[in-house]
């Protein structure tokens, strides 16, 4: 498959529009509030689409199709169990505190509710995590474009060897994101995320349509694949009867509670989109509006994995040694499959020139939306929670705006650096998983206690966070997934027990970290002096006036929307049981 002028033209049109949006917003971005908070003036539906688009990074798009091919339709649990309930909880219960406290970021809420040290701990770990994950996402996408080989011929025509495709992909996409975030700040990132959201759908919907047609529809897939792949819950009764190696409790508690609530309810990358909304009800509706497309997304991103498994005896490509055509074999002597190539391989298979241009643009769009999400969250936390808090507390607004722009340049440069470091290690994805379990899981306990228990104190929260992170490290150091070697996969303190899969180990590390943080925060809080209740108004549930929704029409009430979302998700689970 070769690219023609039409594919290039379509990609150029996309670049033109993303940069154009940045240019159009430049004149409006003259204060730090406009740059970091989009002036808190964005309508709910725009925030909602940006909310899900910022999370739809390259890893999500590549990874979900890969897991679909590896684990089957049960991958949808990452959406139906691992996202929707948490998004509803964020909109109905937590947004009033984030938005109502007038905090400008998640770490700043921690300072208002607890104290400086809790905020500093969160700000530093979050800043590192965003740079790290945007670098990995950049690495994943550039690697993918290189392995696909579609760019080989056009670059060869210009006298550029295929080994440069990785560098060109990293530098050019980083530059585009840099320019549009630099110009328009958070508004530019959010508006572009809406555009990118529609593009991702426009690239994947025809892929699923053609693939399903080729596979003989959903019934064709059900006929070809083993039942464990086409049923989401059958087989989850025990860890040994499903491809993921996790049981119901692990899925419900680890994924459905700790990891999902830890991500969706506390990660500033997504929460920032809702905090940019133009009113309290708009902010609360943001995650609920996002939940509707999120619910349907398994059909777009997981389905390609199932299609690739079932058409023509399976078309997931075999993993090759780099730069050769020799297949990598597993312990049984069978060739290993390169699951990450699932979605793009299907595009190359079904899309003629023209449609292929849209498909490749959709991949680029997903990558850029994820990266811009990380970069805008990073520059805000750096400027407000590190620079303004500890380095220069009382400078002019113009100075902080300038620092924010510099932080954008620095954040992107650090991500590029991370992408090159990532290229040197093959375990980098595992490290990223670890970081999430170490940082987000204990943080969830801190937020739940902070928002819903007025007795929780700053010393309690800080001690809980430190203890929770140590507990995650300890659990990881003492356990090992079956068949893995001690090291970055765990067991570096001596493997006391083994889990059937990495996913199971990851879920249990998170459960462990959450529990320790929860218990230690309560214990230390009870031993330390409580804060004056008057200082906690607007920050804690029992001391805050409930938002009044009764005068809103029913379809704008967060609680009603939340119930509708949950019922629809339940129905999906029943259909694919």
């Amino acid at each position: 498959m070769t690219l023609t002028w039409l594919d290039w033209l379509l990609m150029l049109v996309y670049f033109g529009f993303v940069l154009g949006i940045g240019v159009a917003l430049k004149s409006k971005t003259t204060t730090s509030s406009a740059f970091f908070q989009a002036g808190r003036a964005i309508p709910a539906w725009v925030c909602g689409l940006a909310f899900i688009s910022a999370n739809l990074g390259a890893q999500e798009i590549i990874g979900m199709a890969a897991s679909g091919a590896k684990y089957g339709i049960a991958t949808s649990h990452f959406y139906w169990v691992g996202a929707i309930p948490a998004m509803v909880f964020l909109g109905v219960f937590m947004m009033p505190f984030y938005y109502g406290s007038r905090a400008r970021s998640v770490p700043e809420y921690l300072r208002l509710r607890f104290d400086e040290k809790t905020r500093a701990f969160n700000a530093v770990s979050f800043a590192l995590m965003t740079v790290f994950s945007s670098g990995i996402s950049m690495y994943a996408m550039a690697k993918l474009l290189q392995i696909l080989r579609v760019f080989d011929a056009p670059f060869a025509a210009l006298g550029i060897g295929p080994e440069y495709i990785f560098h060109i992909a990293v530098v050019s996409s980083a530059l585009v994101v840099l320019v549009y975030v630099l110009l328009g700040g958070l508004s530019s990132a959010i508006y572009n995320e809406v555009l990118q959201f529609f593009l991702i759908v426009a690239g994947f919907l025809p892929l699923v349509y053609l693939g399903l047609r080729d596979a003989g529809g959903w019934s064709g897939i059900v006929r070809t694949l083993p039942p464990a792949f086409t049923h989401a819950w059958v087989g989850l009764g025990s860890a040994s009867t499903n491809p993921m190696g996790v049981d119901v409790f692990g899925v419900a508690m680890g994924l459905g509670f700790v990891l999902s609530f830890g991500y969706w309810c506390t990660d500033f990358l997504v929460v920032q989109r809702a905090m940019a909304a133009d009113s309290m009800t708009a902010a609360r509706r943001t995650p609920l509006i996002a939940a509707f497309p999120k619910m349907a997304f398994p059909f777009l991103v997981v389905m390609p994995g199932l299609i690739a498994l079932s058409v023509h005896g399976g078309v997931v490509p075999v993993k090759m040694y780099e730069g050769t055509t020799t297949a990598i074999l597993d312990a049984l002597g069978k060739p290993q499959l390169d699951y990450d190539l699932t979605a793009p391989t299907l595009m190359l298979r079904y899309f003629p020139t023209g449609m292929l241009g849209i498909g490749l643009t959709a991949l680029l769009a997903s990558f850029m939306s994820g990266m811009a999400g990380n970069v805008t969250a990073f520059n805000t936390v750096w400027t407000y929670d590190i620079y303004q808090a500890y380095l220069r507390p009382s400078a002019s607004d113009a100075h902080y705006l300038w620092i924010g722009r510099m932080a954008t340049v620095f954040g992107i440069a650090a991500s590029v650096l991370t992408a090159y470091v990532a290229a040197q290690f093959n375990n980098i994805m595992d490290v990223l998983q670890l970081v999430f379990a170490f940082v987000n899981a204990p943080l969830l306990a801190t937020f739940l206690l902070g928002m819903f228990w007025k007795r929780a104190t700053g010393h309690g929260a800080f001690a809980g966070l430190v203890a929770g992170t140590c507990a995650a490290a300890l659990h990881h150091g003492l356990t090992l997934p079956a068949g893995a070697i001690a090291g970055v996969k765990g067991g570096w303190l001596g493997a006391l027990s083994t889990y059937p899969s990495e996913m199971a180990q990851n879920f249990w590390t998170a459960i462990d970290a959450w529990t320790v943080c929860f218990v230690v925060t309560i214990a230390v809080s009870l031993m330390t002096r409580p804060r004056d209740e008057r200082e906690l108004a607007g920050l804690v549930y029992s001391l805050t006036e409930r938002p009044r929704d009764a005068e809103l029409p029913w379809h704008r009430r967060p609680a009603v929307l939340g119930v509708v979302v949950l019922v629809a998700t339940l129905l999906l689970n029943v259909v694919f049981f």
Partner: protein
């Protein structure tokens, strides 16, 4: 604030027009891989229709606010 529906509509309008145009006037022998379906024509028309819908929604919102941008 910018009405994002307008730039999204214009972008999909341009992309839809390019796909539809190629589907009608371009090489017809390339559609074997898309199971014999002229996917450029089909999906190009869908994108064009989507662009028109967005423009209508945006115009309605503008007129409701009494011509304010």
């Amino acid at each position: 604030m910018m009405d994002i529906r307008v730039p999204v509509a214009v972008m999909f309008g341009v992309m839809g027009a390019l796909l539809t145009g190629y589907g009608v006037f371009g090489d017809q022998s390339i559609y074997g891989r898309s199971l014999g379906i002229n996917i450029n024509l089909v999906w190009g028309s869908v994108l064009l229709a989507f662009a028109v819908c967005l423009l209508i929604l945006s115009a309605r919102a503008r007129s409701r606010r009494g011509g304010e941008p």
